[in-house]
Structures are given as C-alpha cells and as structure tokens.
Amino acid sequence: MKKYLDIIVNGFVKENPTFVLMLGMCPTLATTTSAINGLSMGLATMFVLICSNLVISFLKNLTPDKVHIPVYIAVIATFVTVLQLMLKAYLPEIDASLGLFIPLIVVNCVILGRAESFASKNGPLASIFDGIGIGLGFTFGLTLLGICREFLGSGSVFGVILFPESYGALMFILPPGAFITLGFLVAIVNKIRGV
C-alpha cells in the first residue's frame, strides 16, 4: 500500500505537472479565469489521464514499438471524445465554459507524457495511482491559479464575493495575468522547495 501512496505523493509534490514539470501549459493558462473553471478542467484532465493510463498499461505488451504513439493517441482521443459527449449530455454548462479546451485534452502533453514514461512501464494498478497523483497535482495547480486570478481580478473566490468587483485588477483575468500569476506562483513554489 505504501508504494501506491508514494506514487500519489510523487505526482502531487515531486512531479507536480503545473509547478515542477511545467506540462500542459495551454489549458493551465487558458481555462483558469475563475476557480471553478480551473477545477473542472483539472478534473476533466484527471478523468482522461486515469482511463488512458489504465488502458495503456494493459496494451503495453500488445503494441509493437514502432506504432505505439499512434495507438496511445487513439486511446487518449477516444476517452476525450467520451468525456466530451458525456459533458455535453449531462453537464452542458461545463462544456460551454471550457469549450475548445475539452478536445484539446488530446494534445495535453501531461497525458501522453505519463503514458510514455509511466503507464508503458508499469502495471495497471500502479498506473491508476499515477493517474490519480498526477491528476490531483494538475487539478490542484489549476484550481490554485484559478483562485488567485479570480480573487485578484474580480474579488471573489468560487463565486463568493470577498471585495467589490470594481476594486479588482482586471488584468489578472485577461491573458497577461495568467502568465504573470503563474510566474509568481512558480517562484513561491521554488522558494518552498528550496531550489
């Protein structure tokens, strides 16, 4: 059991995709205009990551090396489409607010990266835990960034108003604010990790 816990902690802390590995930057920056958007994007990615890690760890011996990338991409794209259809059918608000970035989960380098570096070398159970760990790390990164941007930009967190919107610095919701907020968050994380 300890081994699996370590895998989760590793994904969350040591190989945090947002602050340490710096992978999957497109959705990280684009969808974090509010805390709730960041959280839903993180969970959507985590779903695809866990499923694709699981299936790929089963398929690892059945795919010849030369065609492993197309097979992995097909598996990931399938889960992304499943997710897309499910969201459209049952949670249309989330589908509307994340828009283009749902199909773009396919090219999120976190997912293909984990398939290559973890799921293709480990068993199904370990791969699931790796998906959970990395997925949680990614969700945490996106939610934290979303909270900071929503708070600084519009004075609320998860829609709860903390100070009047007119005092917010709008720039943090706009594209430049995404880069700058993440830049400072990374600096803080670096400081904590003692790099």
Partner: protein, 215 residues
C-alpha cells in the same frame, strides 16, 4: 508476456484492431448520449424562450429560419424566429436568435419582442467574450441595470452605444462587445419586421412547421 515484435503483420493487425475498437466504443457512447444532448439543447432553448418572453406558460406556434444579407457589411446572417402564443392562444410576440461577431468570436443572442416590437428580455446563448469584460453582457443590458434595453423598441429608440450617438451605455471597457450585442438586437428586430411584412402581403415564407412546445 513477450512484447510483440515490429513485424508488418503485427503492426497492421494492432492498428486495425485499435481503430475498430475505438470506433465501436465511440459509436456506442454517441448513441447513448445523443438523446440527452438533444434534450439538453431543446430544454435550454425552451427555458430561454420562456425567460426572454417573461411568460412561463407559453406555446411556440411556429419556427422560421430567415436568411438575410445585411447591407452594412454585405454578409449573410441567419435568424431563427420563434412565434409565441400565451396560454390562451393569443400572440405574445416573437423570440429571435441572432448572431454577430463579438470581440473574440461569435456572439449568439436570443431576444424576445412583444407584438409591438418592444424588447421583453434577452439571454446570451453562446459567447466567447472576455470574462470580467465583454462577458458581463449577460447582466449589463437587463432591466434595472446601467445599460438596460428592456421595454425599448429598436424601431423607435436608437439602440446604439452613446459613443456612436445612441442612448445605451456601453459595458465599461467593452465597446466592441456592446456594439456587437446591440447590432444583434437591431438586426433581430429588422428580421422580425420583414417576416411581418411578407406575411401581410401573403408571400409564403420558407418555414419549417414549428414543433409544439410541451407546455
């Protein structure tokens, strides 16, 4: 288990199998979710029409799709016009779907007009406007707010932002979105007018038979 080698046969078989399996899975999921997705769309539209017409007990009697080229920019726009009756069967007015280009992409609005063409309400159906700026359009023009357009008539009131010599306050720092929104409203109004004019002169419109709403 031994890893499969890189022979041509192995590669072809694996790729074909993967293609078939993924295709089948997706076809199945698509099949399962198709109905809820259509249902969602219908429900969103039905509740949208109710909210913009300010009436919970209404019937959609006909649905017309109007294509019209606007002289202003020589582009063809498509409007969907829902004619609505109240519970007693008296005409309430029309709800119109109208799309223009906003700041970052298409801005699709549903606007409710009563029989004399006054705006009863509106709702944003699709938007890619900037959060905190243009995305405020869903509240800004509602009754009681700064830029309210409710109960105004695009035929008689000049629905333009004050910068362009009109009477509507633009959303702070989002003139482009405000212009696009008002353009959508004005064009929707114009579309209902040709609809009326052609009905009066007896020209048959190319129209689908409207579905009866469940209410």
């Amino acid at each position: 288990m031994q890893k499969l080698g890189n022979t041509l046969v192995n590669m072809t078989v694996v790729l074909t199998l993967v293609a078939i399996v993924t295709g089948v899975i997706l076809a199945y999921v698509n099949n399962v979710t198709k109905e809820p997705i259509d249902e969602q769309k219908k429900e969103t539209l039905a509740s949208g029409i109710k909210s913009v017409m300010q009436d919970n007990n209404l019937q959609v009697v006909s649905t017309d799709t109007v294509k019209k080229t606007e002289q202003e920019d020589n582009k063809e726009y498509t409007y969907v016009i829902y004619s609505v009756n109240n519970a007693k069967g008296e005409p309430l007015g029309k709800a119109v779907e109208s799309t223009t280009m906003g700041f970052g992409g298409a801005l699709k609005v549903l606007i409710g007009f009563n029989t004399s063409g006054d705006i009863k309400g509106y709702t944003i159906l699709e938007t890619t406007e900037t959060p905190g700026l243009g995305a405020k359009a869903d509240q800004w023009f509602q009754a009681g707010n700064k830029g309210s357009i409710i109960d105004k008539n695009p035929g008689t009131d000049k629905l333009k932002v004050t910068k362009d010599g009109g009477s509507v306050d633009a959303i702070t720092a989002s003139t482009i979105t405000s212009r696009a929104f008002l353009k959508a409203v004005n064009q929707a109004y114009a579309a209902t007018q040709i609809d009326v004019a052609e009905e009066e002169t007896g020209v048959a419109m190319a129209s689908e038979v409207g579905e009866q709403s469940n209410n």
